[in-house]
């Protein structure tokens, strides 16, 4: 084999050259030295670390993306998620509580299954809360019409209370604390005028940011979903 040129050495570094090349390196100290220098340089630039992203990063990207996605074809009003969501969550939670209360009298009812249903309901609730919070955080204080967010917050408040009650029964203090914190914000939004004064909206945005509420909702939502899926 003739001496490889520089382009072939680069190909060899990336494993694109056959065994004959490596055989040549063993016999040719000059080419071996050239290849070693190239390898050392390319290895050194591999040390280009990327900031780490946690396991919930995908869910965070999705939450940021959702408000910007073009709307799908409109569905009948009664099929919209903010109408169906609270209804389903309520049904699920009532079913969960009913299961808890009848547990002592019935055998064969899976506690795990009920817990999974509840975890998914909480995750779903947090996801919808997250969308409302994201829209609030990104609203322009000077030109914000919050009628839609206010209506959705009203639905979420009652659902939030029900889920909080259930989380108390489940003895899950971290979720209870988060739902408490979330409820205070949702109540404020639910009771606000649709045209919130800029200062009030800015204060609300500041509050959501400073309490890290959006982040907590994202992470807890993702963790809860993961936990539910594993059950």
């Amino acid at each position: 084999m003739t001496h490889p040129d520089e382009e072939q050495l680069v190909q060899a570094y990336y494993g694109e050259i056959d065994d004959a090349f490596h055989h040549h390196l063993e016999e040719c100290p000059e080419c071996a030295a050239t290849f070693d220098r190239l390898k050392e340089m390319l290895d050194s630039v591999s040390d280009y670390p990327v900031p780490e992203r946690n396991s919930a990063y995908g869910a965070e990207v999705w939450a940021r993306l959702v408000p910007h996605l073009p709307l799908a074809q409109p569905r009948p009003g009664w099929l919209r998620w903010w109408v169906l969501g609270p209804v389903l969550a309520t049904l699920l939670t009532v079913a969960f509580l009913a299961g808890r209360f009848t547990e002592q009298r019935q055998t064969g009812i899976s506690t795990t299954a009920r817990e999974r249903v509840l975890l998914m309901a909480i995750s779903d609730h947090l996801e919808r809360s997250q969308i409302v919070l994201t829209e609030l955080v990104h609203a322009d204080p000077q030109a914000a019409d919050l009628a839609s967010e206010r209506d959705r917050a009203r639905d979420l408040v009652s659902e939030n209370r029900l889920l909080r009650e259930t989380a108390v029964h489940m003895d899950d203090p971290s979720v209870v604390a988060l739902l408490d914190q979330l409820e205070r914000v949702l109540v404020d939004v639910a009771n606000s005028p649709s045209a919130l004064p800029p200062d009030d909206l800015a204060a609300l945005q500041q509050r959501i940011e400073s309490e890290g509420l959006l982040f907590k909702v994202r992470v807890t939502g993702a963790n809860t979903r993961e936990k539910g899926q594993k059950l």
């Binding site: 520089e6 694109e16 630039v45 591999s46 993306l65 799908a72």
Partner: protein
Amino acid sequence: MDWTDADAAEQARKGDQQAFRVLVERHSQSIFRLAFRMTGNEQDAEDTVQETFLRAYKQLHRFDGRAAFSTWLYRICANCSLDLIRARKSRKEQQDSTGEGATAHWLERVAARDPSPERLSQSRQIANLLEPALQRLSEIERTAFVLRHYEGCDINQIADVLGVGANAAKHSVFRAVQKLRRALQPAWEVGAR
């Protein structure tokens, strides 16, 4: 649900946002890595990730399934990164992102792994030289090199992302390595002293 990328893309194309969500959650980490290495800046990388998925969603009808979904997404991400780099250049912000602050941040992370004086000195040299050297590569060279060296893409995937033939992709990687080698030469001279 364990959708394949192709199935999820098909469902998303029919308007199922949850299917698209599966794709976003599955590919966010790798798209962030590519975006960061293309732009060299964390905030720009975040913006690029968002723009990549937004464009992908709007262009889903163009995804024909001939290439892997991840390759198609890489192509969009590479284009978004290049758009951002061009915009940054035109705003003359390049200096901010490749200047002392960015280099020091990069260096801290490298140096923390091996704090020996020789290694630190060479790392400092490489840190000072690498990002500007990457910035000086042509758009195709930078994309080809990042995909080959950091993302481990093969030549056919790179060719697909760049929309060029395999030989052109191969040659772009080679030119990038040549240029980087020249740019980083001073760091090796320091190391040799």
